[in-house]
């Protein structure tokens, strides 16, 4: 972990900078863990929007927050069954 941090931040970053970035990441995680409802709500709304344009497989859908290096990413894996004709034609 320390190794990763020093690789990401390089040698000349102060310990306060490192603390700040570590905190940023840990807070993103803590906050989503506190409310799984948050991700659930997000998923519901994603389905609603995406379904206007394509037919998706809701059961196979996966929405998570992932931390990599010094970034947090929202990763959504949404299997598409088919595009809707209207959306394509528009």
């Amino acid at each position: 972990m320390l190794d990763l941090i020093s690789r990401v931040f390089g040698r000349d970053h102060s310990s306060a900078d490192i603390a700040r970035e570590r905190l940023r990441l840990v807070l993103v995680h803590d906050r989503t863990n506190v409310s799984p409802q948050f991700l659930e709500a997000l998923k519901e709304e994603l389905i609603e929007v995406i379904s206007r344009y394509m037919e998706i497989e809701e059961e196979g859908m996966d929405v998570t927050l992932q931390t990599a290096e010094n970034q947090v990413a929202l990763v959504a894996n949404i299997p598409v069954r088919r595009m809707k004709r209207a959306a394509v034609g528009r």
Binding site: S14, S15, A16, D17, A19, R20, R22, L23, R24, V26, L27, D30, R31, V34
Partner: protein
């Protein structure tokens, strides 16, 4: 009706009891009627920090269980007009008091006092839930360290999720060491505020006077040359609604930090 304010942190040992004692004393010095409530049942501390440990006859649990009247259990601090302490029970447990009982107690106190300050136990379990039950305001104490800020975030989330009328949490950053901040070896206040998305109530520097004053049982606000004491005084005035600017000097900013800011590197 007075204000009921809980002093809490999540993480232990960051300065809740020190803050409660100093802020309460400062508020009383400024002419308010103040009662300090030690809600850390089983780990009584506030009494020794206030130097009132020899005068306790009845405690919070005695009042809640009806073994003593509230008036009997309130200990008057002889050094300050209008400053009282309600001690925690030492030989009981957090679960011996319910959130409802705490709320009734603080409601009753708010009728008599301008400020009811609750010294909350560490953690987010029963003791915490009881302590926040009757509070309308929350002061979150945090040290400029990753673990402390993380726990502060958790507590702020729990505070926001509580039902009832409550003001947004206010942050006190305690044990700031300006030299370390200037050197880049301590989290900056601005970064903490941005991450926690809270209002800043004050910044208290690391100060040897705190230890000396705790040895003596005299809160640092009594001492003229305590920087932490001065910071707590300013916080008391802010709580009373005065717009006291948060001076860098409060944290004894080093010459170097100021220089860096003037020259324009250091993030301000």
């Amino acid at each position: 009706m007075g204000q009921v304010i809980v002093v809490t942190s999540g993480k232990g040992g960051v300065g809740k009891t020190t803050t409660t004692a100093n802020l309460g004393t400062a508020l009383a010095q400024l002419g308010n009627r103040v009662v300090l409530v030690d809600a850390d049942i089983g780990l009584r501390n506030l009494d020794v920090v206030m130097g009132l440990e020899n005068r306790i006859v009845y405690d919070l649990v005695d009042v809640v269980e009806g073994n003593a009247r509230l008036k009997q259990a309130l200990i008057k601090d002889k050094r300050s007009e209008n400053l009282y302490l309600l001690a925690a029970a030492q030989t009981r447990e957090k679960k011996d008091v319910s959130a409802e009982q705490m709320k009734n107690l603080t409601d009753q106190l708010a009728r008599e006092f301008d400020f009811v300050l609750l010294d909350c136990p560490a953690g987010i379990e029963d003791g915490f839930k009881n302590a926040i039950a009757g509070a309308q305001k929350a002061i979150i104490v945090a040290n400029p360290e990753v673990s402390s800020v993380r726990d502060a975030d958790r507590v702020i989330g729990l505070w926001d999720a509580q039902e009832g009328e409550r003001s947004p949490a206010m942050l006190i950053v305690n044990r700031v060491r300006p030299r370390m901040v200037a050197r880049g070896d301590m989290l900056e206040i601005d970064d903490m505020l941005e991450m926690l998305a809270v209002d800043l109530l004050g910044v208290v520097p690391e100060d040897d006077h705190i230890i000396v004053s705790t040895n003596r049982g005299e809160p640092a606000v009594y001492s003229r040359d305590s920087k932490a004491g001065k910071a707590f005084h300013n916080i008391a005035r802010r709580l009373m609604g005065e717009a006291v600017p948060i001076l860098d000097l409060e944290a004894d900013e080093s010459f170097w930090a100021r220089f860096k800011r003037i020259v324009g590197f250091g993030r301000s």
